[in-house]
Amino acid sequence: MIYLDNAATTMQKPRGVIEAVVQAMKTAGNAARGMGEAALWSSRLIFEVRVQVATFFNVSRPDHVIFTSNATEALNIVLNGLFIRGDHVITTDLEHNAVLRPLYRLQERGDIMLSIVPADSCGNIHLDVVESLIRSSTRAIVITHASNLTGNVVDVRRIGQLARARDILFVVDAAQTAGSMPIDMENLHIDVLCVTGHKGLFGPQGTGCLCLREGIDIRPFKVGGTGVQSFSKTQPQTYPERLEAGTLNTHGIAGLAAGISFVQSTGIEKIHRHEMSLTRRFYDGVVSLPDIQIYGDFSVDDRAPIVALNLGKIDSAIVADILSTTYGIATRAGAHCAPRMHEVLGTVSQGAVRFSFSWFNTEDEVDRAIEALRDISQHLVSNAHD
């Protein structure tokens, strides 16, 4: 199989990730619960990974790294715990449902007012539009670092500067970029960073984290055991325990640490260059096919490694099915949990076929995907025209 669905999850993991999970499953007790060697092993591991994540994203304090099960959970913790009634929130057409659905629900309950920055036909948003939507009650700008459909990257530094200058919290969903592009919370003026572990960071599914700048007040969405302050009737106020009730996914976090170590030792710039090279190679190989429609802005090189496309009017699900069954190429068709982006692109009924690349893909795999698409294009488009 040629796996080109890395925007959904990276299936090929570094060997060290698998070994770290296995080692943890043989060794780990329950972190922060008890003082036996196994429990201490876990407590030390969890702390070391907090330090590692804090270094990786330049989080000011390791105890402001909160482990979650994925980016969706991180976003839910933030969006449901940050706002008070009457707050105004700005988000964009580019967002995944992990951002949109929590915000829609808050809006429906009358808890927040919501403005959505429209994307242009290339899938880009514009800073002046973001700025024009700011009101005196605007509490936060919540934005994805890159569209999971088009791969377009948002200029988070400029939006972060704008947010900081206007005293607005800046929340970034880095599900598509963590591990593929450098992210420095301080330089980008990010107050809250939501990350998943199982994509560009090569960790196991069920891992993720929430990174907070100091001084951000988030109400706990769940309460329970933390291993500390057990006689208090309320959840500890200090991070990370405040947002981490219940036993952590220590086995997964061990794998996540190994995944981040792999990215660090390989070099994130090197990974990004490789992924961009594959993305560009694929784009150049298919852009001239008859009746092909490619979505997103390919005039820039700084992108997430994603190419979403359609062949004529053919249902994206049919193309993806042929790619899988005839050519053994895994892609993702349909809506990609990005409803507004599909509305902008006019692909609600057709969906789109998304090819997404990772460090572990090769030029040969890309070339075989180009050939497969050329084949399908010749057969299907000519049949459709008959």
Partner: protein, 78 residues
Amino acid sequence: MKLKEDSVVITFTSTTDAMAAELFFNKKALRGRLIPVPTSITAGCGMAWKAPAEDRDELLTALRREGLRYDKDYRMLL
């Protein structure tokens, strides 16, 4: 089994603080080890750092200089 020793016990409010302290003390080759908090002490976190009593000032000063947090310190036979 060792006889009871004159000890300093440093407590923490969170596991993260205890882990940070342990890593730091080990790196600096300062004496002591993590122990379960004695029941005679009320502490937020179940872990405490136990060391010879004479090391108290050195340990607390090192923590403060490094900007690491602790809760309280106790002297006891342990």
